[in-house]
């Protein structure tokens, strides 16, 4: 079926069957590969995108349900919060293999947009669904705190 998606500020006409996860439309049809496939069951967070500003797992979001919503992928991030998060990520060399990090960044932006000054407990709670098999969690936590400081400055 033909669908119209608003993604990263542009409207895309796509052809996808109902029930197709947004993830695969983003990756295979729109060829935006920053959003990753990790588990397909919303258990790892690698596929996290923003739907009207809120982080969601695109592997469990059906494409027909998001017509009309503003979808943002890692490629479309454009805010002061995102800038601070990505700068902190690079400053602290958070990444190792990096495959989960798009999702980590998308969730971190969601967290700091809601809560610019999170406690460690709030960070751990919010980021709990984003798995990192390289276990870069120490640096993820530190980078979120660093980004929070940058936003305040």
């Amino acid at each position: 079926m033909a669908l119209s998606l608003k993604l990263n500020g542009k409207t895309h006409e796509v052809d996808a069957e109902p029930g197709t996860p947004l993830l695969w439309v983003i990756r295979d049809e729109l060829k935006l590969t920053g959003t990753k496939f990790g588990c397909g069951v919303a258990a790892c967070g690698a596929c996290t995108v923003h739907l009207d500003g809120e982080p969601v797992r695109s592997c469990q979001t059906f494409v027909e349900d998001v017509e009309g919503a503003e979808i943002t992928t890692i490629e479309g991030l454009n805010s002061n919060v995102a800038e601070a998060v990505q700068a902190a990520w690079v400053e602290l060399d958070v990444v190792q293999c990096g495959y989960c990090q798009s999702g980590q960044v998308m969730s971190a932006v969601g967290l700091l947009t809601d809560n610019p000054k999170p406690t460690v407990e709030e960070i751990d709670d919010y980021m709990n669904g984003n798995a990192c098999r390289c276990a870069t969690y120490q640096r993820i936590r530190a980078a979120i705190q660093r980004a929070s400081d940058m936003m305040e400055a």
Partner: protein, 725 residues
């Protein structure tokens, strides 16, 4: 192969830049090219505009060689880290072999920096000398008066960018023994402020992994695999799959290991696979359950071992233990574990215009799939091209001796007319259920202590499914029947343990098994370090002091192990745990490096354990990129702890019980409160960093739990009496 490569390079650069001065390949295989870009040696390429590229022979799965090998070149060449880029080397073991592996290109055993350290420095230094010699000639100056700093040739009253001398330098012979910098001259090696080369693209979504490749007109293939290990596909019914939009067709793989399902895109392939029913022949398939495997392992360690690992007299050891004042006896069980790298396995194969093929892959051991491709496609090696892409983790999984997933892709490609590229995609369920696990292992240890609490004898028996036997690595890694990877870290530990006998028994493989981050040390360190802890407790002695007493032989090995043990104890406030907290410590040598860790927990096994803090001390020789070493310790600790807390692969009648992260739960951000890493200053040659952080983490946690709770001798902990909060 070198000639072909250089000709392709010639044609490519001829098209890109018309001015080609000279292209050739010397008989020794080294490239010398006066065109742009110029390759000064196999490891350094410099464009006419001065852009420097390190050609990295190790793949990047996050462990840092893209930064590390680039650092070595930049240091010796004299350019800043900002002014050097990297690309992955082609598959060619004549130039890019891992020096620790013989004539074989690959990454593993935490060897990337260790085997490249001199080679890449020499390459950078050779390029520096060639550029300086070219400048000296141009300026009529004495080469000895010139140097390169931040990409500028400087001296004799002159200063010019290296770009000015690239063309001339490229026509020179590389010096046989270029002068290497003295460590006192290092500006980048050992500098903790050097940043990773891959942070930005991995933070903004532009980094390209093998999973991200979309070749024009490609097909996606997924494999319907036998639910039981070793089952064979005899046929299938795809009537329902034909309703899936984008489904192309399906075919039984030539080796019958599964059914290849072809589709226009990934989701269609997954959907179609769901809709296909496959007929399986299970007559040769595994039908055991993991409980039976466990019983076999336990029976094996309770019988006389097949192999004597360390040559000690077993009867004498038994007599020493039996005659001791105190005997400690424990039996341990370690379950199968999956690697579960974040990027599921994937690779893409396409036909080349010259009749060859290209494999696009996060290739950990390119030489393996290179041979496999040549055999499957009946092509000469030089017709196979391997494009190494970023890998989303591995932990050993991308390096199978059978090149398993690359072979799968090749077989799926063979079944097509080869006009369309074929991209193989694994789902997480494929990854968790399709084998190549850390083998299940059992140990039995009997320690005799004398009246003074000193070790009198140590009888150690291991039973395992051998990783190495039956693979191409057997001649290198199996001696007198002993698969060294089953017992590494016991008899060869730096500890001076009197009366120690080590025995090994192999059991038949129930699943395919594979090296898993730190390989045998995943279980040997756990057994050694928890038993030593218990022995110290039985002797009424401090666990640190007890271990140090076994490291007084005066060897460098013992001094370095003692050094990190003491450093971790000091930095981790050993013996001064805050109220309500317990500490455990462990130390282990692996991959040439020495790592000690103090784990501090709150709570208890019955009330729920929280890992509050891990303090790590590492001696890996000279740390080329200290911050990358720290990151590898952090990651190695997390990988070790996450699995011992709650992960195992189990089988019921040959079918894997787990399927995805909900039942193979990864470490989460809240599981570890803090990790602090201290690097022992060292001028020794660099040794491993990717794996050595893992082995001490689990026994240190177990020892902390044992302060107020049980000695955990079977894993995972949450299935064996330990609750976590």
């Amino acid at each position: 192969m070198t000639l072909k490569t250089s000709r392709r390079g010639f044609l490519k650069s001829a098209a890109a830049a018309a001015a080609v001065l000279y292209v050739g390949a010397r008989p020794d295989g080294a490239l010398a090219a006066g065109s742009a870009p110029a390759q000064l040696n196999p490891f350094v390429k410099i464009d006419a505009d001065g852009t420097v590229t390190a050609i990295v022979k190790h793949f990047e799965k996050g462990q840092g060689p893209a930064t590390g090998l680039t650092t070595l070149i930049a240091e010796e060449l004299g350019v800043s880290m900002e002014d050097i880029q990297y690309e992955f080397a082609p598959s060619d073991p004549s130039r890019y072999a891992n020096l620790a592996f013989g004539q074989f290109q690959g990454t593993g055993g935490s060897t990337a920096i260790a085997n490249s350290f001199m080679q890449y420095r020499q390459a950078g230094a050779a390029a520096r000398e060639m550029l300086i010699n070219a400048a000296a000639k141009a300026w009529g100056a004495d080469a000895g008066a010139l140097s390169i700093e931040d990409g500028m040739v400087t001296g004799a009253g002159q200063k010019a960018p290296i770009a000015d001398f690239v063309a001339a330098a490229a026509q020179m012979e590389a010096p046989a023994e270029p002068r290497l910098k003295d460590p006192s001259e290092f500006r980048l090696i050992g500098n903790a402020s050097v940043r990773r080369k891959d942070s930005l693209p991995k933070t903004n979504g532009t980094a390209q992994y093998a999973m991200d490749l979309h070749l024009p007109n490609q097909m996606v293939v997924v494999i319907a695999r036998s639910p039981r290990m070793g089952g064979l596909a005899t046929g299938f019914d795809d009537a329902d799959a034909k309703a899936v939009k984008g489904y192309i067709r399906a075919a039984v793989l030539p080796n019958k290991a599964g059914v290849a399902v072809y589709a226009e895109d990934t989701w269609a392939a997954f959907q179609a696979r769901e809709a296909i029913s496959v007929d399986w022949d299970f007559s040769a398939a595994e039908t055991r359950s993991s409980d039976q495997i466990r019983e076999e392992l336990m029976a094996a360690v309770n019988s006389d071992p097949t192999y004597n690992v360390n040559g000690a007299d077993r009867a004498a050891t038994e007599a020493l233990v039996d005659g001791a004042d105190t005997v400690l006896e424990r039996t341990f069980y370690f379950p199968l574990l999956a690697h579960a790298p974040m990027e599921p396995l994937t690779c893409t194969i396409e036909a080349n215009e010259d009749g060859g093929i290209t494999l696009h892959d996060g290739a950990q051991m390119p030489t393996g799939p290179h041979f496999a491709m040549a055999e499957i496609f009946q092509l000469p090696m030089e017709k196979i091209r391997i494009n190494t892409m970023l890998a989303g983790g591995s932990f050993g999984r991308r390096a199978t001796p059978t090149a398993d997933y690359q072979v799968e892709a090749a077989l799926a490609f063979v079944l097509t007319d080869r006009t369309r590229p074929v991209k193989l995609v694994w789902s997480r369920e494929d990854d968790i259920t399709a084998g190549y696990y850390r083998p299940a292992v059992a140990h039995k240890v009997r320690i005799g202590l004398d009246a003074a609490g000193n070790i009198a004898g140590w009888d150690h028996r291991v039973a395992a499914q051998s990783i190495i036997k039956g693979t191409a690595f057997e001649p290198m890694l199996v001696h007198n029947g002993v698969d060294h990877s089953s017992v590494e870290g016991i008899g060869d530990s730096p500890y001076q343990i009197p009366g120690q006998h080590v025995g090994l028994t192999d059991i038949a493989k129930a699943t395919t098994v594979l090296w898993w981050r730190s390989v045998g040390h995943t279980h040997t360190a756990y057994v050694m370090e928890t038993m030593l802890d218990e022995a110290a407790q039985a002797a009424g002695r401090d666990p640190v002091e007890f271990r140090l007493a076994l490291l007084k032989g005066g060897t460098a090995d013992q001094q370095r192990l003692a050094g990190v043990l003491q450093l971790a104890a000091d930095k981790g406030n050993w013996g001064k745990a805050p109220a309500g907290r317990s500490q455990g410590i462990a130390v282990h040598k692996s991959f040439g490096s020495y790592v000690a860790e103090v784990v501090e927990i709150s709570g208890s096994a019955s009330d729920g354990v929280k890992i509050e803090k891990v303090t790590c001390a590492v001696d890996c020789g000279l740390a080329v990129n200290p911050d990358v070493v720290k990151a590898q310790m952090e990651g190695g600790i997390g990988y070790g702890l996450g699995h011992v807390m709650r992960d195992e692969i189990t089988l019921t009648d040959g079918v894997v019980d787990q399927s995805n992260f909900p039942d193979y739960e990864p470490l989460r951000i809240g599981d570890i409160g803090a990790i602090e890493v201290h690097i022992m200053p060292s001028a020794e040659m660099p040794t491993g960093a990717g794996e050595p952080g893992t082995p001490p983490s689990a026994p240190a946690l177990a020892n902390a739990i044992a302060v107020t709770g049980p000695r955990v001798t079977a894993l995972p902990m949450n299935q064996n009496g330990v609750d976590f909060v």
